[in-house]
Symmetry: D2
Subunit: 389 residues, 4 copies
């Protein structure tokens, strides 16, 4: 219960706004729950749609003061920045192409930004946003939420402390089946924008979920991609973006890897799995049963490390709430990003340096993610030629 003890004790809640995430949006609701779990935030303002009626209706659903429900994010940023009780932070949960323009409005007014991934739809946008963030005092937190899972923190800690030895091989995949049919032609809003280059950017599956896989592998191993060769493909007739991708990876220092993302593999819901092997040991993790981490020390029996159980260390404990055997899930992992963000924001508001042990995905991670997608798209366009990063 590290988090309950550590986070709630800080007094007044942070005031949070949200852009995007109106009725029927999936990820907006997730962000709201994640923000509530540890009691660190209170949602007080929002721009849930550019259509005033829709935004107002969503705001009403959420019990917000109608005066703080906007249909223009720019107006929201201006007016909230002027209020004495204005928001301290904003969650951006729009389609990808809006991340950059929205975030800039808030960053330039010193409002901290918690932004959904991928950072942007294009690499140019990503770089431009990075510059905007550099000029701002406000923090930028990217919700690569899978890094919030305690056993991913455990894995990261084990790699960092050398328990696997020198990393040689990694295999990471994020496999789904929800786009096995042309769902985007049947009225699904979610499918529509995810498969629309104008709103998602140049990557389909690789942008939506491949980027999660890339980020996870990078977070756990600390390895930097040197070059990649990607074979992206569209299987569903009429689809505009890739729905399956196979990527060969070469890391600085000599490790090799493989990444597979797919949205057309029946029988897979969110099969995000990571396997990392070094010369002394290996680890394996599956997002669908996230409280477990398999660890093998070369020449010894495989061990099943459970969140909070024997063998589970300080990094996992810091982002856990309940004892082993009581599964924490996706929402708690997501909440950990919000909790870490709160610690960082409170430190920044107090003029203090960020705590040494805090972790959240940053602008740099976001740029790396978009660069990864961009490199995959370029490689694939050249028949899976190697692209250096």
């Amino acid at each position: 219960m590290a988090i309950d003890a550590a986070h709630v004790a800080r007094g007044a809640k942070l005031r949070l706004g949200m852009v995007g995430g109106g009725r029927d949006a999936f990820i907006g609701a997730v962000h709201r729950i994640a923000a509530r779990i540890d009691g660190e935030y209170e949602l007080v303002a929002g721009c849930f749609s550019s259509t005033p009626e829709k935004s107002a209706a969503s705001g009403a659903d959420l019990g917000l003061n109608p005066a703080r429900v906007y249909s223009s994010y720019a107006e929201m940023a201006q007016r909230e920045a002027r209020r004495k009780d204005g928001i301290n932070a904003v969650s951006i949960v729009t389609p990808n192409h809006l991340h950059a323009p929205v975030a800039k409005e808030f960053l330039k007014r010193g409002i901290h930004v918690i932004c959904d991934k991928p950072l942007t739809g294009t690499l140019a946008d990503a770089k431009s946003l990075a510059k905007a963030a550099e000029k701002s005092d406000a923090l930028f937190i990217l919700t690569h939420n899978y890094t919030g899972y305690p056993m991913i923190r455990q894995a990261q800690e084990m790699v960092a402390s050398g328990e696997l030895g020198e990393i040689r091989v990694l295999h990471v995949q994020y496999v789904q089946d929800w786009l096995s049919t042309p769902l985007e032609q049947t009225g699904s809003k979610q499918a529509e924008w995810r498969t629309d280059p104008a709103r998602s950017g140049g990557g389909g599956a690789v942008g939506d979920i491949g980027t999660h896989a890339q980020n996870l592998a990078s977070f756990v191993t600390g390895l930097e991609t040197e070059a990649l060769a990607a074979d992206l493909h569209r299987f569903v007739p009429g689809r505009q973006l890739d729905d399956n991708g196979h990527v060969l990876l070469r890391y600085k220092g000599g490790a090799r890897g493989m990444l597979w993302c797919s949205q057309v593999s029946p029988g897979n819901e969110n099969a995000l799995r990571l396997q990392v092997y070094g010369d002394k040991g290996g680890i394996e993790w599956d997002q669908e049963n996230p409280n477990l981490l398999w660890f093998t020390k070369l020449g010894q029996p495989k061990q099943l490390i459970t969140r909070g159980g024997a063998g589970s260390g300080a990094a996992a404990a810091r982002v856990s709430r309940i004892p082993p055997g009581h599964p924490e899930g996706y929402l708690e992992g997501f909440a950990n990003i919000y909790a870490e963000a709160a610690r960082a924001i409170r430190a920044r508001m107090a003029g203090l340096p960020l705590p040494a042990d805090v972790h959240f995905p940053t602008m740099a991670d976001g740029v790396a993610g978009v660069a990864f997608v961009d490199a995959c798209v370029r490689s694939s366009a050249k028949n899976a030629a190697w692209v250096t990063l």
Copy 2:
């Protein structure tokens, strides 16, 4: 995301108090998170300890108004009942022997009670509390939280709709290892009161976790226990209450079952598992991977039903927040009890009948649970003789 849409839209939060659950208590923190997840409650008062300094410190940790932090639950009930902005409901998270006296103080003042399980330490207390609840307009909700898991709702729905046919056999277990050593002699507060008859009642493992298993089986199958024969045992030297129990079960209508609870089985964290078999099919569920439900229609391949996936129905959807493949966990299941309670409390506060589809464990479930423990203890004292319920 049924819950996000349905619950948050109700306007002002319910004002919640808490009795018990100070620093270092496990279950108090769980209740607080569960109450926060869906944004239905705001914790505004508490009596976290009978020692004033301890209660005050816990209240301060939680950012409460010091004027509403008490060291006497009776005083808390009186004063909160008199306040205009007094609590609407109280969470009771004390050791078992205090449930009845605390609950009565709030019930008689019309304050709704959300109480941890088991209902009480003794059957006499349980019956007395039941009478007190009958006389009150306030609701009584027992947090048999495992009934809040979506796939348990799914299982209940499948049994009720006849997909398993007539139930013949059930097997339920709740197996742990945390009391394999005399932990209560080493300063563990949790172990101390759990193994102390004065605070826990006559059942050790059977009261703490056997009662969860019994409640789960009962909820899913709707079967009533007719008779049981229990072989309880204390393995750890010096322990005062059972740490392992095997129970033969006979249900009205002819089904037979077996219940196993243990706190001395190394390698088990919270192995709460339920298997139910009828003449047409069977289901199997494991709390440690709770988003899955195995279903076999006799003569057909085993199916893996996932929360929100194909084959998962309305009952599970009503208490789910996120799409399949993103695991929900223990805290979301617990939060579902709080969310259901909120719906019921709001209806009661509005003078309306309870919604037809709302479910929460009630006083009757609580009395049945204590009667189960009592019967097990009596049976075991008579060398596992049959005891009729």
Copy 3:
């Protein structure tokens, strides 16, 4: 590949006969494959049915010399005993009630007997057969085949060497679904005799599979049952023997256990599972994935020991053929009983003492098994009263 090296090198194959196991019999074919796997035996004679045409047809299927295919087991015993090239051993794979009379005919002529389980249908028969075996120089091997699995040998070795400490609790089950309907009324020979008291004895599920579970628990732990209380039940209308049983177990020395056998639990094929817990550790094993053994040392992460992998010791290696990761199965486990029998028979034929490390289930195990079934039936008839063994 311990077995390949150790067993095949002995020169001439042992000459084997078979009683029972004609066309369409399940277990006869299993015995024949088990006898072939390690090249130790050659099937040269048989009495596959008491109907001459049927026996002859089965003998022809198997390529036997027609002169050595009999329709009377007594005649087979007499004539084979007289031949210079007569059988060294006989496999008895008839329904239970014939085990004793058939075995006696061969034992009294010094022909070694390999007999399917349970030993007999009645305790009187078991005791009478035990006496007959005592008077004979021939060996008696009972095919409680599950004790032949390498990881069961591993488990036995770990318990014996104290890795679990003092055993406290065990849970064993053998659960199936094939008798969920009145299959015996539809022409299934297998179902007919298994549910017929005249051919199976007083136990149904408890005799067929409960006895496997009892034997497995006993083999692994070395514990002796002191008393039991059994609740047997017939669920399928018209069935004459139990198809589900729950048994409370008390062992000499203080351990407690629970045994569940069922043939009416849809979704279970051969769910034979054993869990054993001591004060220092626990083990868990599942027959349907038999190359794995879970081991937890109290306070350490769970380990997955694989057949032949790290942590797997000499006892498992002695009965393994291939490296880890290449699954051995039911037939290899069964073959291990035959291979052990061959070692013992060859030693006996050479006038040598049995090798110290050889293990096979004996007459004593068989009598214990029938006594277990008998005790269960008596206990159940007295409403699950305790019966001392």
Copy 4:
């Protein structure tokens, strides 16, 4: 028990010889057990080593007539071909570079050849051997044993019957850890020749196990590889051949795939796994638990099809011996290749056409396998450039 009934009934056993497979060789013992399981073959001759004493010692271990134990395979072929009771078939279990010269000696004398994989070390050898086989009346059977697993037959049948629709994506891997250290420098014979280009050919992991993965994917899907891009790597210092490989695959007709083979991934014994996804459904299989096949029909719950259980069809039944829930393993799968070979050899010996339903991996499969390894090596040498097959 399809096989027991179908195969043993054929009268006299086939006379089998073996080249390679002396003491301490792994795969020779496996072939011998596989040949024994169904009673179709009798091992009567062998050339177990080119050192006369070693060959003789191995022959003696196996109880062979010393006159039929050779130290020259050419002499063995000549002399056995001349004997009236000469061998009908020979098993070749030498290192890869000897497959072609040995096989040719037997093929040209009309002796059927059962040969371990990969076919040869070089593509030139493979083609030359294919020509030799064409000129011979004798059959050539390649022991790509994993195609003998019943659930792989089931998978093949399901793909062929259209249950998955049009195949889009496949993922296949064969991952081990036994070469994580420089084992070949420590005296391990197995490691020595597997990592020696002179004896294994140009592929290390890709030749030893990658070729199994390629063959399995090809067998199940019936797809033909159009082009591949391979990134092979040697991680262990001093190693001469690849110990890890990642391969992008493009199939005729448009499917895409990925193959991963590794011998340096700690915690993996023989993790051969296949996933195949079409527009209507998907299947998943794991060699380490081979009696299970996961099947998802798009939009329905995942099904667990068990060998011989509900949903398991004729193709699996034909190569199964025992009922569901009793696991068959690696040796039975291997034995199925021998059993199928026996059917084919008997048909050929009788001058009949091969049975329509018989399946065994052929010379064509072998050439395809070597071509695959050759293409991977060439692609990798050109920095993972595409190579057309």
